[in-house]
Symmetry: C2
Subunit: 238 residues, 2 copies
Amino acid sequence: MAKVEFNIACSLCEHLKDSLFNGLSPEDLSRINNHKTCVQYKKGQNIFYEGTRPTGLYCMNAGKVKVYKNNVQGKEFIIYIAKPGDFLGYRALLSEEFYQATATVLEDAKICFIPKENFFEVLQKNPAFMKRVVKAVCHEMGIMEDKLAELAHKSVRERLAANLLMLKETYGMEGEGSSLIDLALSREDLASIVGTATETVIRLLSDFKSDGLIAFEGKKIRVLDAKKLARQADLIVA
Amino acid sequence: MAKVEFNIACSLCEHLKDSLFNGLSPEDLSRINNHKTCVQYKKGQNIFYEGTRPTGLYCMNAGKVKVYKNNVQGKEFIIYIAKPGDFLGYRALLSEEFYQATATVLEDAKICFIPKENFFEVLQKNPAFMKRVVKAVCHEMGIMEDKLAELAHKSVRERLAANLLMLKETYGMEGEGSSLIDLALSREDLASIVGTATETVIRLLSDFKSDGLIAFEGKKIRVLDAKKLARQADLIVA
DNA sequence: GCCTGAACCTGACAAAAGTCATCTTTTTGC
DNA sequence: GCAAAAAGATGACTTTTGTCAGGTTCAGGC
């Protein structure tokens, strides 16, 4: 499990345009670039652990990472799945707290690490960048509010349908009339996203499959009928 | 339901020390002060509505306000209860989105309104203030992550116990060996905080009461045995 | 290619929690 | 101070979902 380093200049990174670093001045970007360390991780490796102190910011270049909390019985709840272009671990860094969640690689990943001093330096010098960060954080918070309300009042079936649609939006590869969720998620991980038991996810998925809403393609899920799925996600079919 | 205006100088506000405005330079504070409008609201009045555009920031001077989302069936989920010193509606303002929640007065309130131009002006000119705001927002986000995991995997009994403890921490008036939650919450509101049905809350509260964990004092709840309540909040009593 | 463990699936069952109906108590408006 | 409405309480019942136990299939390491 040796860490393999690699290097790509931030200015040439294909995900720069999707990133919060987009719009940074060349000097600021090179300040980030000159201090970053880029590492390749294998599936299953951990990026950071709940309870430890952040020392910088992670920036995804490739792969997928799940960020999750473990409860007393060892059940996971997945808060977020990070994809290329996303920041990782910024919440604890900016609130100056310990990590409250653990990050584990779902699909082999390339991740750059920016020491906090350098990140904060750019942040402090650059009010427009700071403002973009605030905006992004507050947007994220709105998503979490939605999730809270969903978790509080929707059934597992509705939540699963809603999460499949969400995954389709974020990781979907569009085909003709259908869309493949480009994420190798186990049933267990899906259960940890929805907030339910693995068995329940399995049963509901096979329901959705026999109703022609989804299909399985290897380890991945294809959404065949997003409209019907949306009806399952809403409350009480009118 | 006429709005009654009042006025208190920010610099003299008794909640300044608990507020994010604490630490602002006299000039910045007077910039806020000179543009604010302060209004008294009665219980039941709305401060802002889901789906509308924020035009500024609310800052609580007195009373309590619930911020909640309504689902399709009209069930409320309470995201937050604001108390004096708290900001209200900053999330949508900073993410430049519409309000995603409604704010309604729980206990007669005095709330100051700061137009967004003036708030943003101070924010932009003052990196230290901006940093404090970011820190607070990210801290808040951590609380929401906890709530998500709680909602996903804890039973209603555990969640009710945990929320009573949380309310005690935030609104508790300490007595000898017990603590009164200084919040006139209906059973329905408590259900909307916990994410369950009103009947379930009523039943569980009376359980807790007969076990000597809590007592009722008018519309308020007194926590008699925080330790036992904490054991109810955790999973599986060891 | 085979073995081993992990992931996936299915059924039976129990527990938790929601719903509905009804009744009592408290609050509020006039 | 009274009537109406809202809040609180309780019981009966149903549905949802979790748990456990037992299978099968799949994938990776040797």
